[in-house]
């Protein structure tokens, strides 16, 4: 155990640390940090638990002060909670990152080509690479988008692709694609800020690649999308409003990009032109970075009960008078059943082999898969295809009889709505357990943010590392008690 380290104090943070049967991001073997973690390990091991606790409080206070909180309404009053931040960084050596970057870039281009195709000529359906019924039965496939020419052919301006490291093989797998309105990038930027303030010494020992150019990169892409040939297009960020759990992120990005943060009620459509209501009258809007789901964008085109949206927006969009990022109808590409075909898209559209593999996936819409899933339910993870955020999920090994029976019924009633995957033993990273005041291994994933300008995919080095802070838990979503870590991509190998 690391207690052998000569300079470490008697009771140090890694006392009783257990690797378990998992891939540990920090340790190659008990007490032996991997080369790229050595400096950080020694820095942390040299800290007394009290000293670390102090840094942790400082970090929490900094988040509270900035109002980086989300609201929980379960107690009827609306209590504000911090999105827990774990101070132990997740570190990636450069060579590892390069593989991820290549794999994601390839995947994003393939997803975009798929969307161009599916709302255009539909070659992929004619060539029978993916069943027509699977696409047409997808809730997020929007016929209203057929034949719409989106500016520069871009659908997936921003993609958040979730990766996990499989303890069995030690390699990364793609867990899911998010190409509608992925969130979390603000935490990447804020975590970095807080990290450099609270543990400056650990940070300085490495050359960590910067992440703070994300808003500028995104802003450049939005600028390219203006339907009018004007030098300074009017760009806005459309938010559902203050009660949305990602509201902090919306304000953060709007401020960082220097664009207006608007709600649906600030906009109005007249003769297929979108305007915002200012104190000097109506001002035309060119580009909308929208953080509202398709269903709520325009009550005339989608859900008529939406009060968040703008009546007539889809008309303006289809007329080419305003650009939306991301495009409408992207949900057909990140549907969890369609996901199973993304490696095939990469081959079909790019003629390349996938750099990053998928998690093995059973499509319950296929009778032979469904019967396998029903026979092996206690070993599998079942997910609803259109959901995200850890909702609509069954984790077989943790489920009780009633839950298993319930899902069995649901699967049989609506097989198209579900997929199943084997339980992946996610890698673990040391994380502070405030209950014991010591480090413990906790499961993590990684969501990098990919920006696409029609030609090139730009990825901010690293991304959001989410961590399941509950002992043994595999669910990293913030809505399910997860936290996050700062993610360091090193310029070199250690």
């Amino acid at each position: 155990m690391p207690a052998q380290q000569a300079q470490a104090p008697q009771d140090h943070l890694f006392r009783d640390y257990e690797l378990g049967p998992f891939f540990d991001e920090m340790f190659a073997a008990p007490g032996q940090p991997r080369p790229h973690y050595a400096k950080t390990f020694h820095e942390l091991a040299g800290m007394a638990p009290g000293q670390f606790e102090e840094s942790r409080r400082l970090a929490d206070f900094s988040f509270l002060l900035q109002g980086i909180t989300f609201t929980v309404y379960s107690d009827g009053q609306g209590t504000e909670r911090l999105f827990p931040f774990d101070l132990v960084p997740r570190i990636l050596p450069n060579s590892e990152w390069q593989v991820i970057e290549r794999g994601l870039s390839q995947r994003v281009r393939a997803l975009n080509l798929f969307l161009q195709d599916i709302y255009g000529p539909q070659r992929i359906l004619k060539d029978r690479v993916i069943p027509r019924s699977l696409v047409y039965s997808c809730h997020h496939f929007h016929r209203v988008m057929m034949g719409v020419e989106v500016p520069r052919g871009i659908y997936t301006h921003i993609a958040g692709i979730d990766l996990v490291r499989d303890s069995k093989t030690g390699s990364y797998l793609v867990l899911e694609d998010n190409v509608r309105t992925p969130s979390g990038i603000s935490y990447v930027l804020e975590n970095r800020q807080v990290m450099t303030r609270t543990l400056p010494r650990a940070f300085q020992q490495h050359e960590v690649l910067r992440v703070d150019h994300y808003p500028a990169e995104l802003c450049e892409i939005l600028r390219l999308l203006s339907p009018r040939g004007v030098e300074n297009p009017v760009m806005v960020l459309l938010t559902p409003g203050i009660h949305n759990s990602a509201y902090f992120e919306h304000t953060f990005l709007a401020q960082q990009m220097g664009i207006e943060l608007v709600e649906g009620r600030d906009l109005v459509v007249d003769c297929d032109i979108v305007y915002m209501k200012t104190i000097r009258g109506l001002t035309r809007v060119d580009v909308i970075y929208r953080r509202i789901d398709d269903d709520f964008l325009d009550p005339l085109a989608f859900r008529p009960d939406s009060i968040l949206g703008i009546p007539g927006l889809m008309g303006a969009y289809r007329a080419g008078n305003v650009t939306l990022a991301n495009a409408v109808g992207n949900g057909v590409a990140d549907d969890k059943a369609i996901y199973a075909y993304v490696p095939a898209f990469i081959g079909y559209y790019l003629g390349e082999d996938p750099v990053l593999s998928n998690v093995e996936t059973y499509l319950c819409s296929r009778p032979e898969h469904l019967s396998y899933v029903l026979d092996h339910l206690p070993e599998l993870v079942v997910k609803a295809v259109g959901e995200s955020g850890g909702y609509g999920m069954l984790i077989g090994p943790e489920a009780d009889r009633a839950a298993l029976a319930e899902f069995r019924d649901r699967l049989q009633a609506n097989p198209r709505n579900y997929i199943a995957q084997p339980v992946i033993a996610l890698s673990r990273c040391p994380s502070y357990d405030s209950r014991t005041s010591h480090m413990a291994g906790r499961h993590i994933d990684l969501r990098p943010y990919c920006l696409f300008d029609g030609e090139r995919v730009t990825i901010v080095p690293g991304g959001l590392t989410r961590v399941a802070l509950k002992s043994g838990s595999l669910v990293v979503n913030s809505s399910q008690g997860g936290g996050s870590k700062d993610t360091w991509v090193l310029r070199g190998e250690c």
């Binding site: 509270l64 002060l65 900035q66 109002g67 409003g241 203050i242 509201y247 919306h250 304000t251 953060f252 709007a254 401020q255 207006e260 943060l261 608007v262 709600e263 009620r265 600030d266 109005v268 007249d270 915002m276 209501k277 200012t278 104190i279 000097r280 109506l282």
Partner: protein, 318 residues
């Protein structure tokens, strides 16, 4: 600037001002009343609620205007939208919706004020008395304006902040003078020692006590107090001062020059300012102080409505 953002800025400073004014009135009067007989309480506490314009809500919740009830109602009550706590919550709520448009410093200041205010335990404070709580609000409000002035561009948004504060304060001062003068005259206490003390409390509650002493040297004379609070051009709590500030801010927003106006809000403000500039306190008393102050309050409300109509509301889709 988005109309919604201008609207929020305007109301942020109105709520902040309302919180500060309420804290001042509560603090000063509470401690003055400690030296009085319990019978006098009613006389003193009813008007306090009247100044905030929330009598109806108060009597719906409480039977009697006891110090404790009034303290709770004005400071903490979640059912009183003008209670200090609710005002601070509204300030923060509004600031949150525009936090991308204000400085990080200002947002963090508002946010930490909110957190520090919600940490107060009403039950404990009710035992300790309002001083501690009210002081925190007063400091919070001063700090807010300091941070705003020092970290925001002095552009149209900042002018909406100024306008909101000036309008709220002018109306509040008008209400204080109106209610207090009325009551003191009614009870024929204006001249005696108790009356004297109550006027001192009024002056203290608007931070004008020391200034009054220096200006008038004499004992507290109700007419003089009214003159200071209504017509003084330099005291930042006087009605005239605030109407002048309001006029300046509105002109800065619209760009209209002296002698002209761009909208109804500016016209009404200019008209009110004229009368405050050229009327003497004798003229005002001649017409009746109450009638005059009622007009001021009416004009303030009207100006508020017209600001909203000119800048915030889009009633009809074009």
């Amino acid at each position: 600037m988005l109309s919604r953002i201008a609207d929020s800025l305007f109301w942020i400073s109105r709520y902040m001002e309302r919180a500060e004014d309420t804290a001042r009135i509560l603090d000063v009067n509470y401690h003055m009343m400690m030296e009085h007989s319990p019978q006098a309480h009613r006389l003193r506490w009813d008007p306090l609620v009247a100044i905030t314009g929330e009598q109806e809500r108060f009597s719906a919740q409480y039977e009697q205007a006891t110090p404790r009830n009034v303290f709770e109602f004005l400071a903490f009550s979640p059912d009183n939208p003008s209670s200090i706590l609710q005002c601070i919550a509204s300030v923060r709520e509004n600031a949150r919706t525009i936090r991308d448009r204000i400085s990080r410093e200002l947002w963090e200041d508002v946010n930490s004020l909110y957190h520090s205010v919600t940490r107060f335990q009403p039950e404990e404070e009710m035992v300790a008395g309002p001083h501690r709580f009210c002081n925190a609000i007063r400091f919070g409000s001063h700090r807010f304006h300091g941070v705003a002035d020092d970290t925001l561009a002095h552009d149209e948004g900042w002018n909406f902040l100024q306008a909101g504060r000036a309008l709220e304060r002018a109306e509040m001062t008008a209400r204080i003078v109106d209610v207090e003068y009325h009551k003191l005259v009614e009870t024929a206490a204006a001249g005696d020692a108790a009356g004297n003390q109550q006027w001192m409390a009024v002056l203290k509650s608007v931070a004008a006590y020391e200034f009054y002493r220096r200006q008038y040297h004499a004992s507290i004379v109700p007419e003089k107090v009214a003159e200071l609070l209504v017509l003084h051009a330099q005291h930042p709590r006087a009605i005239r001062f605030n109407i002048a500030t309001l006029q300046q801010s509105l002109r800065a927003i619209s760009g209209s020059g002296p002698g002209s106006y761009a909208n109804e809000a500016e016209r009404l403000t200019g008209k009110l300012h004229e009368s405050l500039m050229y009327d003497r306190i004798e003229d005002i008393f001649g017409r009746g102080l109450h009638a005059f102050l009622a007009d001021v309050q009416k004009a303030c409300r009207s100006v508020g409505e017209h600001i909203a109509r000119s800048y915030f509301y889009y009633a009809v889709v074009p």
